[in-house]
Symmetry: C3
Subunit: 275 residues, 3 copies
């Protein structure tokens, strides 16, 4: 399959497409960051509905423009994740797996590995989660430190695992100081952001949801995932210019997600791609 080149122009066009499409993301996610995730989607130009009960999740996976499954707080809900992923696969709705904690928590790691069978459009995690998730597959070596939901690995070190996960997913990203997006077309590195992103809860989870939104608006999966990472990175750069503590940074970040224009992306994106 031929892939769109990942250039500043292509990333700017992807943001324009997101705003134009305004995708509705069906987010089956955790209760800690659900509100922030909805606010990130709304600020960025998408919208959100958390329809994560067993009576409606499957149906809604066929109604929404994109689906997120985030394993942040599972509560006897393995069946809901399976039903949602199957619903997305059956309906052809793009869906994103965010394997929160797969690096350090074996039970939910196994759950994440099982969900790969529904062929996610993209997988997004921190480096420990990507390494850990691949380690749970037949081909993967064990690994992936992480402790709870935090990463102890560098995204660059997760690239081999991300490549391995392409057996199941259209693209795989590992977030960190420099985000790495891996697709069949190569590896894209997105540089920038702020260390304050690690002092606000839900910045990773909401990025996963935004990846889903971009997958609904941009046909090329590698470009879609890179564009989501670029959008949040540019917004974080803008926010870090305005705020230096986490409370006001979070507010400035939501503002910037809304304000960032395709031209801002074109000028500020720091993205390198290796085919």
């Amino acid at each position: 399959m031929s892939s769109a080149p990942i250039t500043a122009d292509a990333l700017a066009d992807a943001l324009a497409a997101l705003r134009d499409r305004a995708p509705l993301v069906h987010a089956v996610t955790n209760y800690v960051t659900a509100g922030f995730t909805a606010n990130v989607l709304l600020a960025a130009g998408a919208s959100a509905a958390m329809v994560d009960n067993r009576d409606e999740a499957t149906l809604f996976a066929g109604v929404a423009d994109a689906v997120l499954i985030n394993l942040g707080t599972p509560h006897d809900t393995a069946d809901v994740y399976h039903a949602t992923a199957r619903g997305a696969q059956d309906a052809g709705t793009p869906w994103v797996l965010d394997p929160i904690g797969a690096g350090g928590l074996p039970w939910r790691g196994a759950l994440a590995r099982d969900l790969l069978e529904y062929r996610p459009t993209a997988v997004r995690g921190n480096a420990s989660e990507i390494i850990g998730l691949y380690g749970l597959t037949a081909g993967g070596a064990e690994g992936g430190g992480g402790r709870g939901v935090d990463s102890s690995d560098d995204p660059a070190d997760a690239v081999p695992a991300a490549r391995g996960l392409l057996e199941w997913a259209g693209a795989v990203s590992a977030s960190g100081a420099v985000d790495h997006v891996v697709s069949p077309a190569g590896t894209t590195r997105v540089t920038g952001g702020s260390v304050l992103l690690t002092r606000v809860t839900g910045t990773g989870c909401s990025l996963g949801a935004l990846v889903a939104a971009y997958c609904a608006a941009v046909p090329d999966v590698g470009l879609a995932v890179a564009a989501a990472h670029t959008h949040v990175t540019v917004a974080a750069d803008v926010a870090a210019d305005r705020a230096s503590s986490p409370g006001s940074f979070a507010v400035a970040y939501l503002d910037a997600l809304h304000e960032v224009s395709p031209d801002d992306v074109r000028r500020r994106a720091r993205v390198e791609h290796d085919a």
Copy 2:
């Protein structure tokens, strides 16, 4: 029954009554917007407790000053909604039904319809939810687009459905660009607010909770519901003067809910009433 005329003075007095009574709202609501809802109630002058488990919900419906049932994220909790509504009805506690998603999700639409039997003091929803909910009753025509939790209808078009729902509820409101509040005394239109309200999650849900708080502080239901809508509309007007992006708008909105005085309501309310 005679109704209070809905004038600027009456709306100002209603805000004063809310602040004086400081009602405790028992909110059985969704996990996405529960924190924001509590903050809206606290900022406005009420308080909140989310006691939504099957061992305590009924008891607490008799302890609290008002009850909200919001169907945003049902999880095998139909029995909790029924027990809470019955508890409120039995104790004579005013209660509000917020039929989130009733416009587009049939399973929870049926749940919302069943809860009408406990005779809510008020029903608040977006236009699609009000149309959809009435469409599920014996008298209602089918309808109510909506997609997930978003509305695709105009509040003015929901007025006939709102009137139909008065068979069960004391007043019914449909939120949107111009909010419409329908009671036996007629229809009240509340104009104002900001499009940024649609870029912050939970502004509708928290309005439902504030409607409940006003129902505890103001005996006339039509006036109580109109006063809640007026309070948030004036606060959104104030916030829109201070902020133009969603992160800072949400902060300014909470500030303004706290700061708005009865005199501000008297001067800034844009309310029309047709008997």
Copy 3:
């Protein structure tokens, strides 16, 4: 056992120790304030994971640096609380009980009383909760008004109950206008803060989580609990200098939790200790 004297220097050193240790808090808490609690921990210098499912909670109580059990929104989860508390006790992980609503809700009061058997490192509540919890033990007199999750008692009046609870806990604190921390070494009063803390949801719940974080960083329990209360009180003082309405106060509070230095604590702490 000898206890650290609770001086301004000791409190400043405790903050330095918290930042140095950056403890990971396993928070089994309520969905209303979980996001804010995580943000408070991150801003203060700790981190958070909410791993509150029955398949992982016990394991994670042995992995994390500290554990919080907050009874804000129990949902058929009594077994999870028990398993988490037992896991913390078995692993020697410091753990904090926050008996939300124990003052006014009998069912969860009994649950909180049962959890005392796992010997919490500390108990934190409002005055009504502390009085109510002790009243449910064999030695306690009945009492503890409270209504839902709000307190109707003064922290000074909770000191006898707090002393009684030392039969189970290493230290007990009652929050309010003047926080009272009771340990075998005596009673510490922490003065300051802002009435706006009562207009933002989760300031109490997140304090409980911060108490847990301090218990992981500071060996002396009485000092650890007093240091957590001092940290939030100084931060609230700073925030109240910057903001006078609840939305912007909450933002300023998170900023200040991050910015407050050991020197700020040394200069601004208003703490009195009676051995």
